[in-house]
Symmetry: D2
Subunit: 344 residues, 4 copies
Amino acid sequence: MSEKLYFASDYMQGAHPAVLQRLLENNLLPSAGYGTDGFSEAAREKIRLACAAPEAEVFFLVGGTQANALVLTALLKPWQGVIAADSGHISVHEAGAIECGGHKVIALPQHSGKLCPAEVEACILAWQRDANREHIVMPGAVYISHPTEFGTLYSLSELESLSRICRANGLSLFLDGARLAYALACPENELSLPDLGRLCDAFYIGGTKCGCLFGEAVVFPRRGTVLHFFTIIKQRGALLAKGFVAAHQFDALFTDGLYGRIGETAIRAAARIREALTEKGYPLAFDSPTNQIFPILDAGQLARLSASVEMGFWENLPDGRTVMRLATSWATADADVDALIALL
Amino acid sequence: MSEKLYFASDYMQGAHPAVLQRLLENNLLPSAGYGTDGFSEAAREKIRLACAAPEAEVFFLVGGTQANALVLTALLKPWQGVIAADSGHISVHEAGAIECGGHKVIALPQHSGKLCPAEVEACILAWQRDANREHIVMPGAVYISHPTEFGTLYSLSELESLSRICRANGLSLFLDGARLAYALACPENELSLPDLGRLCDAFYIGGTKCGCLFGEAVVFPRRGTVLHFFTIIKQRGALLAKGFVAAHQFDALFTDGLYGRIGETAIRAAARIREALTEKGYPLAFDSPTNQIFPILDAGQLARLSASVEMGFWENLPDGRTVMRLATSWATADADVDALIALL
Amino acid sequence: MSEKLYFASDYMQGAHPAVLQRLLENNLLPSAGYGTDGFSEAAREKIRLACAAPEAEVFFLVGGTQANALVLTALLKPWQGVIAADSGHISVHEAGAIECGGHKVIALPQHSGKLCPAEVEACILAWQRDANREHIVMPGAVYISHPTEFGTLYSLSELESLSRICRANGLSLFLDGARLAYALACPENELSLPDLGRLCDAFYIGGTKCGCLFGEAVVFPRRGTVLHFFTIIKQRGALLAKGFVAAHQFDALFTDGLYGRIGETAIRAAARIREALTEKGYPLAFDSPTNQIFPILDAGQLARLSASVEMGFWENLPDGRTVMRLATSWATADADVDALIALL
Amino acid sequence: MSEKLYFASDYMQGAHPAVLQRLLENNLLPSAGYGTDGFSEAAREKIRLACAAPEAEVFFLVGGTQANALVLTALLKPWQGVIAADSGHISVHEAGAIECGGHKVIALPQHSGKLCPAEVEACILAWQRDANREHIVMPGAVYISHPTEFGTLYSLSELESLSRICRANGLSLFLDGARLAYALACPENELSLPDLGRLCDAFYIGGTKCGCLFGEAVVFPRRGTVLHFFTIIKQRGALLAKGFVAAHQFDALFTDGLYGRIGETAIRAAARIREALTEKGYPLAFDSPTNQIFPILDAGQLARLSASVEMGFWENLPDGRTVMRLATSWATADADVDALIALL
């Protein structure tokens, strides 16, 4: 189709056909604004059902940085900060959105992109035991992403540990699910939506990278977790006048279990690419099972592949080689995967 | 079609068919993220052309409160506030978004929803002449909306006065064009897009209420008016990963002059409704020529009409009557206008 | 003594001799930092006793704007604003400190510098009854000053009304007592420290203008009103390393009832000046019984008096006359009052 | 004198006698407010002279966290953060004051409490070269403390390197001089006040820990470095009504070169203690030449010394030993040093 092969990111195309179809069908139906309409409530109810969280409060936001910033602003008290991996999206790639909202990101070392529960606990206890703790930012929440920025996955046991540590110490646990569909479609994934509903205080179900034109569904499994979140959304400029446009999309994603399947194409494609890379001797920077692949390329490989393939840059290694990122998505075509593999 | 007649607002339906068509056509074309793609640049260029502002910096945001908050944050210094009518959207209906960003809204009395240039100048001079001015918020920008929240329009001479006053005193002039298409389609309107490009330091061209699923195009006519606005957008959670989704919509609106015509249906419908109301003896709260109509209803009229018509509530009058708002849009059907008039 | 007569403000001189003496006596006694020392606790206890608020949490801050900003930040939720008179210090003369902290000042018309309880209640009810209230800043606290910026005083019945309205509607009542000593020394004053402890959720006892080098004692009569205020103070840069320096001063003020008497000199002086002005036919802009006097001067009077007297500028009247402010203090000398009166 | 020996911090006592004397002498002289008086200007002029910075803008603030937060707020743009050592005061012990003001602290590894110029440069270049830099906080300033929190000192060559790197890349260099007098009195110190005036964009001369009741003198050596700093101070609640109270103290410190000598007592005392510790075989955690000493104590030593000496806790070591901090000051008595040494 196109002259180049596009594997630079998982947000390069519009919406999944089922999502677009829903927008088309409902385009001229008059609906109340700001998410107070029936379509929005119906979509919220489908999400509550999928998460086995009948009391959940659900809000549709536009993008991931917005969801992270607003949820953490709502969860944290002014004297608190949020613990995150030093590779976490809020630590490095959100232009200081959390700090802009007044809170410190307390960065702990990443392990394959993940937080280590024992280190999280140690960080919390260190604050509690510090005689000067009232001069130090109090850890008030823990931020994790699943899949992580490295494409890796938390195990159920890890999430249970983090949840237990948070609850024992009065912190909130927040999960960034920007690419959640690619976890759910991955055989190695152990975390279901009901697990998130049970173990997290807040999480968001990614739409932008998982089949929507835009949109993230923020879920607070327990009613009353935060107060006046609607007004906080408005105040931060994040309230959609036409809330139904987000709701239609999520309704489509949560009809007939589409969200659970929508990542399968991407996972299959990524597995094929990963296998081909390994066969041809390309080392991988991270052992990640989801829709992101991180080959390490030497200068010649980089030049050759870049001529035909749009990839994402990840990191320069000290030895002169380069880590690149290949991302697949719900829209990745088999023919493009074939063509990419042929080029390796 | 529907059981009720819907005149509650101008953001009750999806996108104009030409806009939706564009989204459909381009849905699967791979594009770079964050507005760095060619579609986004093409749409920006069409807007520059329409505004006769070839050097303009154009950014696509999601909604009006977001556009107001981000542009004003970028224009104002920490010690400055923004002058606005006390009926202005930022004064009353944005949940304190400007204050949340650290700035005072310096509210002046509205006159049919508008600021009076002489009063703006007096306010600026009063600050300059106050011996204690360093203890007082400095006026740093002027915010106006066109059409205003009352549906009224600034004259060219008024805008020129405001622009002259702002430039003489080092303030920025910012125009909120959430409903700009309904001004442009209105015979009484004197302000063209090139006038805005010439007289304002920043303005936004409304999409959400004027044919888009969502979206506002922020225009800084002069390059370098604000620095690092891209990062400010990201930091405030307002950066669209799929910037092209907004761009496709604005490209459609600015193809073949659609934006200049898209409000005509609404203006014609509003004129018919206004005429019918007047004929039937309903007083109007404001003498507004655009797509919002503000009839004053007594209790009987309110009860009767509310049974069949979705209207917006505006204000309770001391005498027990109620000001309601009827809004038309690009999507208003002639049949619905006929039906409404028949009910009056 | 000095060549000019100084009546420009009540913060033109250092500390009351008893306060300075205390600083001298304790200067070299080693004390723990940050207000954790025994001197600080002793001073807090004296204030609790004077306010008949044995559970009160007391914090020593440096100045009035700081006290207002920190207490309101701590009392308000992110979606709330504070109701204040449009003449209130936080409305006009704190450079936007409240907005800088993210909150709107909801300004109501002043009546002799005071809020009208009925208007406060109407404002709160209007928000509660507004269908769009989630788009509007919620009133979360009421700010009053006593004496007001106009030198006037709330009656006990007014304070009781405000307290009742706040408690009935879940708002906090905060009283700015920058000049509280001048109320307490005033025969017309009805409000005792125990009244404040009983009726307010927070207030501060002014030191800077009432005998200290600097310092304001913030009182939260009920324990647990705000959480982690110590850390909020630290975070906003307001924590004194040598907290004992403020504590020594307040301890002196609250030893043998000095704070209740310290304003008497000022009140007597102001009464004499007010009487002389009236006798000589100078109109007064406000009928205020405390240590501020607001004569209206014509151009000749202004020029003549300014040659010999340092006064504060208040306002230009449309008719060309000028309102000036004369302030007396605990340090005002009888001879200076005599000299001023001779000049009138 | 006192029952215990007090070495817990260098802010446990009031003011140096010469400072207190100045407050006494000037206590009743009427002066204008907010630092607009002649005493304040005279003190500023003495500081300009001492720094060989005749154009410097000088402001008196109350404390160190306040000075750090306000200066950095004024120097940084909204999209920028500040580079600091991970042991820097702003990184760990200011309760998130910088983040509360909206900015990220970009923490680099400390080396004996200091930043390494080469690592600072690498951090700046990494941002400049990152293709995603507009999604990442831009380094906008560098924060150092001298002496550092570990009592160590930058060499002149290190400061020159940092200054050169900052100027080459458009960053501001800010030096926290909370304990600057203890550097100036230290034989190992290479940095003079004129060096700071020449190489820094902003710094503050510590008063609270160096002879004042409270106060820090912020110096911007070049006029116009920041705009409207007066209003920023007011807005953040940091403006002293009686600015002259801070000015009198700094005037005393900068009369006859007192500030250059005031730390000598502390440095001599610290050297004696350090020597005694070393002789008696106590290891020191840091090799610091100024007024802070960091002995490593085993459980027995800790228990024994704590019974008689107030020390500051620093850190628990993994092997069960404890790092404590002993601080001397201008007020340290020889007899107390003798007694401490006898106890070792």
